[in-house]
Structures are given as structure tokens and as C-alpha cells.
């Protein structure tokens, strides 16, 4: 840690004598106030106050600092100096993640010390240690996600304001809240262990959450490392992303989320496969919206094909392409595993048709996302695509249902109990239209523009 210049620079910036003294003083005064209000007792109330201070410092302040750590370098025009240095992407990744937040952690650890003091006579040491670990690891996840999302955004734009930072901050919160919530409820006040089923085995919930938090903190750090590599003009192949997908899909498949009565009603399809498939679809949308894409990339890919440079093609191809291949393969597996029709909660399900329609909707949506990126240049293409898709899956079909035009919802989402014509017809037409537009945009913005240049 002593040898990481980025970490040391952050130490110089963050740990001035004034700040080192002010942080414990402010926390101490606030905690003392709560202690006095609580009748000079250390108990659950003071522990909640310490936890509240921790959350304010770590999740709000810390996630903002982490998300801003590279953005501030760009705004201050010092980022190029770092990119030109000899620091490796790994050192820069952890140097930024833990260096930029070191002062925040200083405050957070003081809060956790007060939390420990408040609870030590009430809870067992093991339980208390695990609760504190949940807090700390959730903080790491929040910071890592905030930094990761901001670095992903840097691939697309170089101008940032407060709005963007708040946006990345929210991503950090979103990543941390599930672990924090489930972890803290993993050992409830009644002293009873909560358990979870993972691949049909019973595990203590809090232990599972702690392991998941550690593992996903590492994945987030790996993600930041990959982003740093991209910033340093190093080529990232698709393999790390695909490994993350495989891991996350396997995790999702092992967790029981569907209500038991629904899972049990799926006779020939494992609820595990269904969970994994759902996670694969989510990750496909995430990468399709998140990754950089545009005419320059496609011209470059076209050039690699012309040169038969397959290695460069594989390294540079958007991750969405292998993801769509995986979705296609997973859809085929689901079709093979399942019966064509069955009933869930007294509702008939035409599962084969619905699965095919689901694949076609994903194909349509990915085509739409790419259409916007190829057809016009704007750093807001992906957020625009996201908003259009969100509307098409929520407001529009719901409006049709309220108008009594239920069958028209086949235009907007997969039908579960209709015939082939209504389930597949509209989406097939949409796919054809979208990809005709993609082909047209490709000819104009990729092929013709390159020939003109």
C-alpha cells in the first residue's frame, strides 16, 4: 500500500491535521448528544444513531467521493497525467477506490466503533462482528459500484456535472441496499438465524450475504480494473465479462426467488433454469445499454473483417454479441427442458411460444439500442433508448389494458397464453422493421461515411 502513488497522493489530500481532528470531534459531539438524550445509556438507540452516522458518511459522502474520483481528475485536467504515467491499471483501480475514500472510511470506522460499544453488552460478539461486516462490505460495494458506473460513463463522455454524479451515486446505493437490508435482517432481534436455500441446501442467510458481498466487491474491483485498462488504451477481451455473467447466472439459478407454489407448478422446467435465464436477460440489457458503441467502432470491426484480423475482432466486438448468442442458446435449452404448455396458479401458460417471443423481444430491443447509437451521435443515446424501452414495457401496454385493448399488448410484451399468430406475429414484424432500420443506418453511417472519409 505504501508503494501505490495514487493511494499516497490521496492520503496527502485527505488526511490534513485539521480534518483528522474535526472528523472524530463532529461524530463524537453528535453521538454524545444521542447518548445524553438516551439517558446516558449505551443501547440499541445509540447503536442506531452510530449506524445512521455511518450510513450518512459512507453511503452518501463516500459513494459520491468514489464516483467523482476520476471525474474530478478529468474536470481538473490531471487525468491525462495519470493516464500517461507508468502506474498499472490494477494499482490505479484500488488506489482510487480506497484512496479517494480513505477519509470517509476514517469516519465510518469511528462510527462502527461506537456501534460496537453500544451493542457489546447486548448482542453476542459473533453476531455483532457479522453485522459490522455487513455494514463495511456494503460500503465497499456502494463505493466500488459508484466508481465503476462513473468509469463506464467516461467511455462515452468527458463532460460531467452534478446531475451525472448523483446518477452514479444512486447506482452505488442500489448496489448496496439489497445486501445491507438482507444482511441486517439475517439475524433478527428475536435472535433467530434466518436461512436461505441455495441449490437446495440450507445456509445461514447472514453468512451467504457476507460471502456475496465479498465476492461482488471483488467483481466490482475487477470491473474498475477493466475500465482502467480501457482508459490506458489496453485492449480488453470479452472473457472477464463472460466469466462474470457465468458466475452471476449460476448464483441466480441457485437462489429461490419465485414463490414455491409457482416453482412447483413448473413441471418440466427447473425454476433454477428460469432464474438463470432471467438473470441472463437482465445482464444482456445492462451490457447493451452500458457499453460504448457507435459508427467508429463498427467501421473498425468492418476493417478487421476485411483484413481477416479475427483476434482484434473478438477483442473489440461489443459484449452484446456473445450475450445474444448466449440468450439464443439459453432459450433453446429452456425449450428443450420444458413442456410446451402447463398451468401456473390456474393460469394456462404457452411456455414455448412465450420463450420464443421473449427472445424476439430482446432481439428487438438490442437492435433498437444499437439503431440509436449507429444512426446519430449523442452521449445520451443509451439513456434515450432506456426511456423508450421503459415506456414500451410499462405505460403503453398498461394504457392499452385500461382501454380494453388487451390483445394489442402483444406489440409490447410477450404473451403467455395466446396463439402463435398473436404471440409471435407482432414481435416478428417489429424485429424486421428495427433491423431494416439498423441495416439502413449501417449503410449510411458505417459504410458510406467511411468510403467518403
Amino acid at each position: 500500500m505504501r508503494g501505490n502513488p495514487e493511494f499516497i497522493r490521496n492520503l496527502w489530500l485527505e488526511f490534513t491535521l485539521h480534518r483528522v481532528l474535526v472528523m472524530p470531534a463532529v461524530i463524537g459531539i453528535l453521538f454524545l448528544l444521542m447518548y445524553l438524550v438516551n439517558g446516558q445509556e449505551l443501547d440499541g438507540a445509540t447503536a442506531v444513531a452510530a449506524a445512521f452516522l455511518f450510513c450518512a458518511i459512507i453511503f452518501i459522502w463516500g459513494t459520491r467521493v468514489a464516483a467523482e474520483s476520476v471525474i474530478q481528475e478529468i474536470n481538473a485536467r490531471t487525468w491525462d497525467t495519470q493516464r500517461m504515467s507508468a502506474m498499472g491499471p490494477w494499482g490505479m483501480a484500488w488506489g482510487k477506490l480506497f484512496g479517494s475514500t480513505i477519509f470517509v472510511w476514517y469516519g465510518g470506522l469511528i462510527c462502527m466503533g461506537l456501534y460496537w460499544m453500544s451493542y457489546i453488552d447486548i448482542l453476542s460478539e459473533e453476531r455483532l462482528a457479522k453485522l459490522i461486516l455487513v455494514y463495511l462490505l456494503s460500503g465497499v460495494i456502494a463505493h466500488a459500484t459508484g466508481l465503476l458506473v462513473s468509469m463506464q460513463a467516461i467511455q462515452k463522455r468527458r463532460d460531467f456535472g452534478r446531475v451525472q454524479v448523483v446518477f452514479y451515486l444512486l447506482f452505488g446505493f442500489a448496489a448496496a441496499i439489497p445486501g445491507l437490508y438482507i444482511g441486517l435482517s439475517g439475524w433478527a432481534d428475536d435472535g433467530v438465524f434466518r436461512v436461505m436455500l441455495f441449490y437446495d441446501n440450507v445456509f445461514p442467510l447472514i453468512d451467504c450475504v457476507l460471502i456475496a458481498l465479498v465476492v461482488y466487491s471483488l467483481w466490482a474491483l475487477i470491473g474498475i480494473w477493466r475500465m482502467m485498462r480501457a482508459e490506458l488504451q489496453m485492449v480488453n477481451g470479452p472473457w472477464v465479462w463472460l466469466a462474470f455473467v457465468a458466475f452471476t447466472v449460476a448464483m441466480a439459478a441457485g437462489i429461490r426467488i419465485l414463490p414455491p407454489e409457482v416453482g412447483e407448478a413448473m413441471p418440466d422446467i427447473s425454476s433454477k433454469a428460469y432464474h438463470g435465464y432471467a438473470m441472463l436477460l437482465i445482464l444482456t440489457y445492462v451490457i447493451a445499454l452500458a457499453e460504448s458503441k457507435g459508427p467508429v467502432l463498427f467501421r473498425r470491426l468492418r476493417r478487421y473483417v476485411q483484413l481477416h484480423d479475427w483476434g482484434s475482432l473478438v477483442s473489440s466486438i461489443p459484449r452484446t454479441v456473445p450475450m445474444m448468442i448466449l440468450v439464443l442458446l439459453a432459450s433453446i435449452v429452456l425449450l428443450r427442458l420444458s413442456e410446451s404448455r402447463f398451468t401456473v396458479l390456474e393460469q394456462p401458460v404457452n411456455f414455448h411460444l412465450a420463450t420464443i417471443a421473449t427472445f424476439l423481444f430482446v432481439l428487438r430491443d438490442v437492435g433498437f439500442i444499437y439503431l440509436l447509437s449507429i444512426a446519430r451521435y449523442s452521449p445520451r443515446n443509451d439513456i434515450t433508448a432506456f426511456l423508450y424501452l421503459a415506456l414500451s414495457y410499462t405505460v403503453l401496454p398498461l394504457a392499452l389494458i385500461f382501454l380494453g385493448l388487451d390483445s394489442l399488448t402483444a406489440l409490447f410484451w410477450p404473451q403467455w397464453d395466446s396463439g402463435a399468430g398473436l404471440t409471435l406475429g407482432p414481435v416478428v414484424i417489429e424485429v424486421l422493421i428495427v433491423y431494416a432500420l439498423v441495416a439502413r443506418a449501417w449503410k449510411v453511417r458505417v459504410v458510406r461515411d467511411e468510403d467518403v472519409a
Binding site: G3, A76, R77, T78, M84, A86, G88, V296, R303, A453
Partner: protein, 309 residues
């Protein structure tokens, strides 16, 4: 030192570099000039590996900068036209951080920091916060950061912008000093008169293309153009020069003669003595540097005329 091969770079809305090729020789100070939007900054950022090209290569002593960026970055440095420094750190901390970031090992950090500070006349400012420095001093600090690891190749994008005349003069002297210390420099600037003072080579860019690449001065052992000023016109000078060893491309017009001369400084002294001994009315002899501004304007006009149907 640097070899750019068929470099193409595209922004989402336009192609910024069109099949650019050029060479930057070891020990040179190369001026990169061209109008706004010509692609100078884009070319510089591709050369130092901050922009990945659409196609083409940048070789730094034979190593592909885009395939091995970190290896090359240890040996080169770049100062952007819009640079930043860490305002909250002291000058010493800024230099120490940069030295460590460039891989200078712990024992040598203090030595290189103090050497860079001394070279940029910042020794008495080491304890000051960077944010408290004037524009000129910040510029010096930024250059000190760029050279703290003693790079072999230094790239400066518009280094003189925003500097007062005294600071510009000081910058010129510094760049010459760095070249003399063994660095190769690439300098982009709009201020051609200043570049003329220290640049040895020039690349002219227009519309994403290198339209001219030339050497401005030669090594004293290379052929170089000399100008002889006469006190009065001479009818015998042309013949005398024509038969002098090492002289070529003689031109005598009124009271000015120009020639291409091959030979070292002693040979040049011999030429002058020969002319004086022959009774030629020599009033002065000097190297005829190619005027940067004239060469630039001429090339731009030639390029534009070539484009006109």
C-alpha cells in the same frame, strides 16, 4: 525515435487524421504547426498513446505505443495545452507524486524531484501549494512534472499559450536546454516566431494531413544554406564560389549570394578567408535559416492551390 505510419483517427462525427505518416528524429525539436482544427492535438494524443487510432501505428524506438502503452509512457511525457496540477498539494508533493507515478524508485525520488525543481527554477517554491502559484509558475511546475522522470521524448501542446514575453523567453531557453540534455521534443504552437528560435524540424498539418515535413537547420557537418552579404555587387564572386570545394547551388543576385555548403565550421572559416583573400567585398556571412513563417505560409498556399480544381 518516433515513426508514425499511416495513422487514421476518427471521431464519431468526422475523420480527424487521414493516413498520416511522419518521423521525429532523435535529438530534434520538431515544431508541429497548422491552423486550428488541423488535427495537431489529435495527432499528438495518438503519438503519446492517449487516443487509440482507427488504424496505423506509432512506433517509439520500434515499440508500438498502442500495443505497449505503459512501457512507452515510462520513457515519454506529454503536457497538454489545458493542463492541470493538484492545487491542494505542495510543489514538492506534486513532483514526488509524479516521480513515483512514473516508476522512479524510492531512493531516487528526492534526487529527481530536486533536480527537476532546480531545472525549472522552482527550488524556492517547493513548500508552496500549487494552487497559490501564478500562471507562469504553474506552467513551470507542469513542465517539471513532465520531465521529473527524465523522459527521452517530451511532447508539449501549445506550451507558450498564456505566458508573458519573459516567461516565453525562459521557456525557449528551457526547451533548448532539454534538447541539449538529450531529450527529443515535439512542440505544437501557433506562435511561429518563437518556434523558429529553437526548432530544428517542422511538420505542417492541414485538414488532418501532414502537408510538409522539413528540416529547418542542419548539423554543422551537413550541407546547409549560407548567405553572403556584399558591400557592393561583384562580377567575379559566382565563378569563385563555383570552383570552391564543398559549395553547390550558388546564386548571386545584386549584393547577396546564397549557396549550399558542405563542411564543418573550420571549412566555413576557410571559405570566408578565401573570399576575403580574393578581394571580394564580403560584408557578412551567416547561415540562412528557413523562415518558419514563410515556409508555413508557402506550404499552406501550395496545399490550398493543389486542392483547387
Amino acid at each position: 525515435m518516433i515513426e508514425v505510419k499511416n495513422l487514421i483517427f476518427e471521431y464519431p462525427t468526422k475523420r480527424a487524421l487521414h493516413d498520416v505518416s511522419c518521423v521525429i528524429k532523435t535529438g530534434s525539436i520538431t515544431a508541429l504547426v497548422g491552423p486550428n482544427g488541423a488535427g495537431k492535438t489529435t495527432l499528438i494524443r495518438c503519438i503519446v498513446g492517449l487516443h487509440g487510432p482507427f488504424s496505423g501505428q506509432v512506433l517509439f524506438d520500434g515499440v508500438d505505443v498502442h500495443e505497449h502503452p505503459r512501457d512507452c509512457h515510462r520513457r515519454m511525457a506529454y503536457l497538454s495545452d489545458f493542463f492541470g496540477v493538484y492545487d491542494q498539494l505542495t510543489v514538492r508533493q506534486c513532483l514526488t507524486y509524479t516521480a513515483r507515478a512514473y516508476g522512479v524508485s524510492g531512493d531516487h525520488v528526492r534526487t529527481v524531484v530536486e533536480a527537476a525543481a532546480e531545472r525549472l527554477q522552482l527550488t524556492d517554491r517547493l513548500r508552496e501549494k500549487a494552487g497559490a502559484l501564478s500562471r507562469g509558475l504553474r506552467q513551470r511546475l507542469a513542465i517539471a512534472q513532465a520531465i521529473v522522470h527524465e523522459p527521452e521524448f517530451l511532447v508539449l501542446d501549445e506550451p507558450a499559450s498564456g505566458l508573458d514575453p519573459e516567461a516565453r523567453q525562459s521557456l525557449s531557453m528551457l526547451l533548448i536546454g532539454l534538447r541539449d540534455a538529450g531529450m527529443t521534443l515535439l512542440v505544437s504552437s501557433h506562435i511561429l516566431a518563437e518556434l523558429e528560435g529553437y526548432c530544428t524540424d517542422m511538420l505542417i498539418m492541414r485538414e488532418g494531413r501532414i502537408i510538409d515535413s522539413r528540416q529547418l537547420t542542419g548539423d554543422l557537418t551537413d550541407a546547409r544554406r549560407l548567405r553572403i552579404d556584399l558591400a557592393a555587387p561583384s562580377d567575379t564572386l559566382f565563378a569563385l564560389l563555383e570552383e570552391t570545394p564543398g559549395v553547390a547551388q550558388v546564386s548571386v543576385v545584386d549584393d547577396v549570394a546564397t549557396l549550399l555548403f558542405s563542411g564543418d565550421i573550420a571549412a566555413q572559416h576557410g571559405l570566408l578567408r578565401r573570399l576575403v583573400d580574393a578581394g571580394e567585398p564580403v560584408a557578412g556571412l551567416r547561415e540562412d535559416r528557413i523562415a518558419l513563417q514563410d515556409a508555413y505560409i508557402a506550404q499552406i498556399h501550395e496545399y490550398d492551390a493543389g486542392k483547387t480544381p
